[in-house]
């Protein structure tokens, strides 16, 4: 009989003795339709199944000490997303990865497990940028007009987007055609962007202050081409998440 690692005595150990661990995972296929909150619950159960000695909060319904770097939208796939957990003892990272991979579902894979040095800020607050790949769900290439339009849009000095003036709307002061839409130049927040026949790839700001949605850029390109873009036709894949280190972008598992 296995009695689980999270023993009561251990649980009350000093918080300082806990080890922070970062888990990088990928998510592909039908499981992409599991939304963020449900996917968190999925991970909590997987961690129990793998018998990882994760730390729990105190109280009547203890919960695992776990936080995701950022939410993944329903229908979005990822090659690299992250969550941080706290465990009670220094883990064998390779073993933890294998044990987790043995108890996840088709389409989910643990890519790596890293122990975080003391004082590493948590994944959520470190995210600075995200890489994306967008392609057509019907498997066809982007057509020539779109490729040519991308050339013009991505090589111009500005990237002007229009968005709803939420502030005015909230205050009930939005007037149609006057102040209901605001314009913004996001060029400085788009670090890399390229559109080939197969896919549109980009590296964009993902910080809470300047977050850019990749679909917004693709919409600009389609608009330039004089075409309507139905977002439902496009599959989004997140390629990785980055933090900043000495003015450079490095992936979140690079610690």
């Amino acid at each position: 009989m296995v009695s689980g690692y999270a023993l009561k005595e251990v649980k009350s150990l000093n918080r300082d003795n806990r080890i922070k661990v970062r888990i990088k995972f990928s998510k592909h296929g039908p499981v992409k339709f599991v939304g963020h909150l449900d996917f968190m619950r999925f991970f909590q159960k997987a961690i129990r199944r793998a018998k990882i000695d994760i730390a729990y909060s105190e109280g009547f319904s203890p919960h695992q000490i776990m936080s995701f770097a950022t939410a993944l939208g329903v229908g979005v796939e990822t090659d690299g997303d992250y969550l941080d957990i706290e465990v009670m003892s220094t883990p064998d990272c390779v073993r933890m990865k294998d044990e987790l991979n043995a108890v996840v579902v088709d389409g989910v894979r643990i890519e790596n497990v890293t122990v975080l040095p003391d004082g590493t800020p948590n994944a959520m607050s470190s995210v600075a940028a995200a890489g994306y790949k967008l392609y057509r769900r019907d498997g066809l290439d982007f057509n020539d007009e779109v490729i040519e339009a991308a050339d013009r849009v991505l090589n111009s000095d500005t990237l002007i987007i229009r968005k709803e003036n939420k502030k005015a709307k909230k205050k009930g002061r939005a007037i149609e055609g006057v102040n209901d839409v605001i314009t913004m130049d996001i060029k400085a927040h788009v670090y890399e962007a390229e559109l080939t026949g197969k896919a549109f790839t980009c590296l964009v700001d993902a910080s809470s202050a300047g977050n850019v949605r990749p679909m917004t850029i693709l919409e600009l390109i389609y608009a330039e081409a004089g075409l309507e873009l139905d977002p439902l036709d496009i599959q989004i894949v997140r390629c990785d998440l980055y933090r900043e280190e000495n003015g450079r972008l490095v992936t979140l598992d690079h610690v």
């Binding site: 296929g29 339709f33 159960k45 729990y56």
Partner: protein, 622 residues
């Protein structure tokens, strides 16, 4: 990666797409080239409700232990997807293989409540299976019903090839073998059905003819084919501890109603509450061995990673080793940071102590189900508890720190007077007084007492002593709710009592369907064709369409609801033997009229008839 039946485009447009994509942890995918029989198990309601049902998980697990069988699942598509599937002609599919339900060998539908009947038609419709069993060929799956509503299958008899009467663990292997043999021998579908009817526990409606008297009651019910039994005996598991129990329950991605591991500790109930159908259907009581339950609990937690475990039974307090089991769970679960939920416990010293260990008294509430307010009515329904029990239990809970109490009552019980109804308010008030008496002012740190008094409307059910009882009318239900509300407002502590009651319309429909006969098939089909679906959901329930359908089919609803039934009337469900016999039910009905209580099986055997199965409490008591 598994191919999906629905395009990403559709999945992006519907609410909770993970209802339809399958692939949950512990869901079973087999190599179909090595499978002889494809079975799809259906719960005709939305995924979150269906996935919370223990019985379906047990049968799913059991059927998948057979190497030659692959059992999959299907639930009712929610109304958003329903519309898309009709518009785009997408056939209903099983979750695991994502292949059409129509291509399966068996479609098993679990019937947990009457209000799902139109959803059964939705399933058949979307699957492309003819509504009428008589119109089906070998190209269609065998449609088989099971669960509590199959104890009166007559209102939906046209839509099913067969009903499995009783506990699913016993006959499926034989049924599947018979199916394989008939197919191999090239026999026709009808001859398979006739042979299946001989297996025992299998009711094939088309093999029986019903004749009616002028007043609409049944004059005779007979097989129309040779070698078909005239009485169907319910199947039960003799060795409950040795019977199959789930090993690896499916762990849903989305939050379902019962998002936890469920441990069935016993089957059946010793109490003979006269309104309760489950209490009669599942007799005799059979307990699971406590040692194997302990092992099972850990196995299930390990295999699922669930953070909560719950005990399941009709009356957990009657399980003889309850303390031992609960103590064990409290120990183990504490170590694993797993929550325990202990439903259907009688409130006494032990349970209050146990619950205060597993729940936060500040956040949780304690539930009592006195069912009736006056002692007279509690005797009529044979509830077997007194006001003293209830007040003592409440006091224990208050002393342990609880302040929130939920009370469940029924309105419209046979022989109920206005005073009986007012007693519900009086009892609620007495409980509030008990609080102020038990907890001195300085100790009321969790705030003052809050009582929620809920009333549902009584619906008489087959195989209960009240199967003869007239059901109240809609107006009478409303009037009684009003009387009770006035009575609550007249109480000293009325500010501390919150009163709510259930919908009246659905209680009437439930009453029609529960004691209905074959004549209702046409009305149910008509209601479905008019757009009725998800009748158990108040947002989608269309009382007007239902009433129109009954009208158009010439159905007088009072025949099924408010009519007083004669003692010797042949009921549509009389051909089923469930252990408890009609004579016994009749004597209980007569005793209820005198408000005479009948002791429970643990005190005394009353010879209900269930001893015919020769197991459980009937034999153990010696």
């Amino acid at each position: 990666m598994r191919r999906q039946a629905l395009s990403d485009r559709i999945l992006m447009q519907v609410d909770k797409p993970a209802r339809y994509t399958g692939g949950e942890y512990n869901s079973v995918v087999k190599d179909k080239s090595r499978i002889a029989v494809r079975f799809v198990m259906c719960f005709p309601d939305v995924y979150e409700i269906g996935m919370s049902h223990l019985g379906m998980q047990i049968l799913y697990g059991m059927l998948n232990t057979y190497d030659d069988v692959w059992c999959e699942r299907v639930f009712s598509p929610w109304t958003d997807l329903d519309r898309i599937m009709r518009d785009e002609n997408i056939p209903l599919f099983a979750l695991e293989s994502q292949e059409p339900v129509k291509d399966m060998d068996f479609l098993g539908i679990t019937l947990q409540y009457e209000m799902c009947y139109t959803n059964i038609l939705q399933i058949l419709d979307l699957a492309g299976i003819p509504f009428m069993a008589a119109d089906r060929t070998w190209d269609d799956p065998i449609v088989i019903g099971g669960g509590p509503c199959s104890y009166n299958p007559e209102p939906i008899s046209d839509f099913f090839d067969m009903f499995y009467i009783g506990e699913g663990e016993t006959k499926y292997r034989e049924l599947i073998d018979l199916y394989k043999a008939c197919k191999e021998a090239g026999e026709d579908r009808h001859s398979f059905l006739v042979k299946a009817a001989g297996l025992g526990g299998i009711y094939v409606p088309m093999l029986y003819d019903v004749a009616y008297n002028e007043d609409g009651t049944i004059s005779s019910f007979k097989p129309n084919t040779e070698n078909v039994p005239s009485v169907i005996k319910k199947e039960i598991v003799k060795d409950i501890s040795g019977a199959y129990y789930i090993e690896k329950p499916i762990v849903p991605f989305i939050k379902v109603t019962q998002d936890r591991v469920v441990l069935e500790i016993q089957r059946g109930c010793i109490r003979g509450c006269r309104f309760c159908q489950a209490g009669q259907l599942y007799r005799p009581v059979r307990e699971r061995d406590v040692e194997s339950l302990k092992k099972k609990a850990l196995e299930l937690l390990n295999n699922t990673g669930q953070e909560e475990i719950s005990l399941s039974s009709l009356s957990s307090s009657d399980y003889s080793k309850l303390e031992e089991l609960v103590d064990f769970l409290i120990d183990e679960c504490n170590d694993r940071s797993v929550n325990i939920s202990l439903p259907s416990l009688r409130i006494d010293n032990f349970s209050v102590d146990a619950m205060s260990k597993v729940q936060d008294v500040k956040k949780s509430s304690i539930t009592f189900a006195p069912e009736a307010g006056s002692q007279h009515m509690r005797d009529v329904i044979n509830k077997g508890i007194t006001e003293e029990h209830i007040l003592k239990g409440a006091r224990l809970a208050f002393e342990a720190g609880w302040t929130r109490i939920k009370l469940y009552f029924m309105l419209g019980l046979p022989g109920e007077s206005n005073e009986d109804i007012e007693e519900i308010a009086v009892l609620s008030d007495k409980i509030a007084r008990e609080f102020f008496d038990a907890v001195p002012k300085e100790k009321r740190i969790n705030g003052p007492v809050q009582i929620v008094t809920s009333a549902s409307f009584f619906v008489p059910k087959p195989f209960t002593p009240f199967q003869w009882a007239p059901q109240d009318t809609k107006d009478s239900f409303r009037e009684k709710a009003y009387i009770l509300r006035q009575a609550v407002m007249a109480q000293l502590n009325q500010k501390r009592i919150k009163f709510n009651w259930h919908e009246t319309d659905v209680s009437v429909l439930e009453g029609i369907l529960a004691r209905g006969d074959r004549k209702l098939n046409a009305a149910i089909l008509r209601a479905y064709k008019k757009g009725c679906m998800y009748d158990a959901w108040s947002d989608t329930y269309r009382d007007d369409l239902w009433m129109e359908s009954f009208d158009e089919c010439g159905i007088d609803i009072s025949f099924y609801t408010t009519r007083a039934r004669g003692l010797d009337e042949i009921f549509p469900w009389d051909f089923i033997f469930c252990g408890v016999n009609k004579e016994y039910l009749k004597s209980e009905w007569l005793r209820s009229k005198e408000a005479v209580v009948t002791p429970n099986c643990a005190v005394k055997c009353n010879g209900c008839g269930a001893a015919a199965y020769g197991v459980g409490i009937c034999t153990e008591r010696g």
